[in-house]
Symmetry: C2
Subunit: 296 residues, 2 copies
């Protein structure tokens, strides 16, 4: 019998311009999580650098790296040392002039279990990701690891029920989101509260609709806008573990470096899907227009 | 300029074996809502009768009626008298041996603006709907009315992001769910709390993912199981109005007859969709497997 209890760590922290310091902060967080029993550790989006997408600057392409590359090498060693699976988030240089925002699962032997290239790419003031990242072409394909079949998704994907559903239909046992989202402090407080609550709630909705645990690891800290046009982004932390009925299992604070460690019972999904058999009743004969941009 | 503020009423009540009394309770609730300014009134699922699906009993087919039929006639008169659009929920007899669970929008002149036949049909102990209701064949098609384009859906549809998305893609301005869901009081309280919260949260998720207001009207009261096999269903009321950012605008109590009246700003959806342009970035090239039962 497989033990279906899985202890998961979320490593939330602020980043600086110093990439070496960032990776050390990340590694320290992984060590903390592992020391508290984590067998799977989820990192935040683009944990190796500042969130450089606040501006469109060609110089930032220098931050990209290959997969495998230095970060997967380093984190693979940590995964081996600590005997934990690690989900990293990397600015991937795939080829000359071809870059992705990629989540990578590193196995406990340091090997790369698999990758997910961010499929939904945002582009809003302060989040100029369409400039940097080619939309993923690996589809919504989970990655098999020694701790389970992982539905890796990234940030903006969080807002798309389609992404969560496709991972669930492919047998994902968990949905995992490295993210980098924050507030524009010019927004009034009630708007900021609504945004954080919407972010949490839409993910809880994915958990419920698919009877799956959902984990999100978000960066924290303030990062100035290099262009000086805005006040920058106050990343809202709040890294979260959600159970398969949408229940809040654990959540980090918005404004501190924090390692969340949480136990997830992977057997509850199967029990829930018997009580709430959503998958049985999907009207796949009537969903064709989901493949349209708009039904006009 | 159209006034895009819309006042909506939700009429939540208990039902009895007396169909005439049920319709009078409903009509009284509509009058209350209209007197408080409602120009659109949403009724609960199958408001004309007890929730007869607790058992499979051929005699219950006598409860079905045609559309148009006595209930649409009566409620059409009320819609005309009160100058309000009404969304009713009817056990529809479409033909001999062919029945549906149908939502009907009645226009302010008493005419039938359009229907939606419940697409996702549940079947669980106490909710034997597959026996009574043929799955809908009208698709996920909104109904145009004088108060807006209404995305009518029914109860079990609430758990399906696909349904909400298809209505949004067809230009629905509101999602409206007549529902009949409740507790098995044999479940421990913490499970009942999780269920009610999941029901609310998954709907808030639809609101967020589609930047649309969501309204649900649920029945309340205890209805015994005619078979005596269970303790019956304690319908959990909690009829709710949710804003397009997932915010809770108003909610009824779980255990009382109640008319909720709430103002909805229909212009917020458009503003939100500019700030959070989810529709722009959907990966319709990669959603094909949503049309599969499972990706195996």
């Amino acid at each position: 019998m497989t033990n279906k209890q899985l202890t998961i760590g979320l490593v939330q922290h602020a980043c600086s311009i110093d990439s070496a310091a960032n990776i050390e902060t990340t590694v320290q967080g992984i060590r903390t999580a592992a020391s508290r029993g984590a067998r799977l550790v989820l990192l935040q989006e683009l944990h190796g650098s500042l969130y450089f997408c606040q501006t469109e600057d060609q110089a930032n392409f220098e931050l990209a790296e290959t997969i495998p590359g230095p970060t997967t090498q380093r984190l693979g060693e940590i995964a081996t040392e600590l005997n934990t699976v690690i989900v990293a988030s990397i600015f991937e240089k795939r080829a000359t002039g071809l870059y992705h925002n990629t989540a990578v699962a590193l196995e406990t032997d340091g090997s790369i279990a698999g990758c997910y290239r961010k499929m939904h790419i945002p582009d809003d003031p302060g989040y100029y990701e369409k400039y940097y990242f080619t939309p993923g072409d690996l589809g919504f394909t989970p990655v098999d690891t020694s701790v389970g079949r992982l539905g890796l998704l990234v940030c903006w994907d969080q807002w798309y029920p389609e992404a969560a559903r496709l991972m669930a239909l492919a047998g994902a046992e968990l949905l995992l989101y490295p993210t980098a989202i924050g507030w524009d402090m010019q927004d009034p407080e009630e708007e900021r509260v609504r945004q954080l609550d919407a972010w949490l709630t839409v993910q809880r909705g994915h958990a419920i609709a698919n009877s799956l645990p959902v984990l999100a690891c978000n960066r924290t800290g303030h990062e100035p806008d290099p262009s000086g046009q805005t006040d920058g982004i106050r990343f809202w932390g709040g890294s979260v573990a959600i159970g398969p009925q949408g229940e809040l299992l654990a959540q980090a604070a918005t404004d501190t470096t924090e390692v969340v460690v949480v136990d997830i019972d992977l057997e509850r999904s199967g029990q829930l899907r018997q009580v709430w058999p959503y998958l049985r009743d999907r009207r796949i004969d009537a969903y064709h227009d989901l493949l349209r941009r708009f039904r006009d």
